[in-house]
Symmetry: C2
């Protein structure tokens, strides 16, 4: 389906960006909440988009001699991106989740071991939720206006927080279910 292609086109369509900054977006910024790619996947894909004439770049010299490539979308690239954006796809496979896999097989663990797992997972998701909430309060005081890129940022960040809330609630229900069985 080449989804990475459209993730890159969209980012470049938002504003000209380097491969390095695209990778950062996937690894640490808001996009990391719903997409991921290593730089070793990003650079070859950028080259491919260049070949397809969906993007172009301008060489920038940073400081004395360090080169960076600032990518810009072409009209053809923008057209393909918008066409993809409007498509209505079927749901697709449910995302993989190693912790749910372990939970599915929890009958092979003692109650104590499973409770330890649940607490550890709870800690990790609480921490993640904390990070997300601090991003949220730092960047948005009100709901951004629809049509600005801030609206997209806000919507997916909210979705990420709600996802963490739900995961945390599930872990607590599991803890409850096992603790009432001792």
């Amino acid at each position: 389906m080449r989804t990475l292609k459209y993730a890159l086109l969209g980012l470049i369509d938002r504003e000209p960006i380097t491969g390095y900054d695209i990778s950062k977006e996937f690894e640490k910024r808001i996009m990391a909440n719903f997409w991921h790619a290593k730089h070793s996947q990003v650079y070859p894909e950028l080259k491919r988009l260049l070949d397809e004439e969906l993007i172009s770049f301008e060489l920038i010299i940073q400081g004395e001699k360090m080169e960076k490539k600032l990518y810009t979308i072409t009209p053809k690239g923008h057209a393909e991106f918008v066409a993809w954006l409007l498509q209505d796809e079927p749901l697709g496979i449910t995302p993989k989740d190693v912790f749910r896999l372990r939970t599915f097989f929890s009958d092979f663990m003692s109650v104590a071991d499973f409770e330890k797992h649940l607490h550890s997972q709870l800690d990790k998701h609480n921490l993640k939720k904390g990070y997300l909430e601090s991003s949220m309060s730092n960047y948005y005081e009100a709901v951004p206006k629809y049509g600005s890129k801030e609206f997209g940022d806000y919507a997916v960040l909210l979705g990420a927080i709600m996802r963490e809330d739900s995961y945390i609630a599930w872990l607590k229900v599991c803890l409850d279910a096992v603790s009432h069985q001792d």
Copy 2:
């Protein structure tokens, strides 16, 4: 990380099973809520587990001549599986979600197009939630006892329903946010 390996070992450890039934588990049954693999990935992995002596199989003749392989776990396989099960792994990357990607780029759509997307997505997730809830009410009247495989089934099914609830709630919040901007 070879997670598929452990997913297969766990299933085979629950009770002897064929490659075909493992594939069904990934495609239509409870496991589909947190893991997935096509039969073209399952059969070669089973062969590999055989080579590693973690499983063995018995040939069964169904009807007149149709052969099927019923896989059983070996003591070595069970030991490796339980060792994996007790491991505490870091959270890992957030799952990819094409709809969130589209939402992130929603400023490239009209409000009407985005609302259409949201409604379509809402329909799909409501349908999915309905399926999950009917499985839940069909199979479990009370919380199954911890230690039975039904407990694992119940816990992940509950998690899947909660995940759908949260996704639906997020979609409604998005709808609300855009509709108050017209």
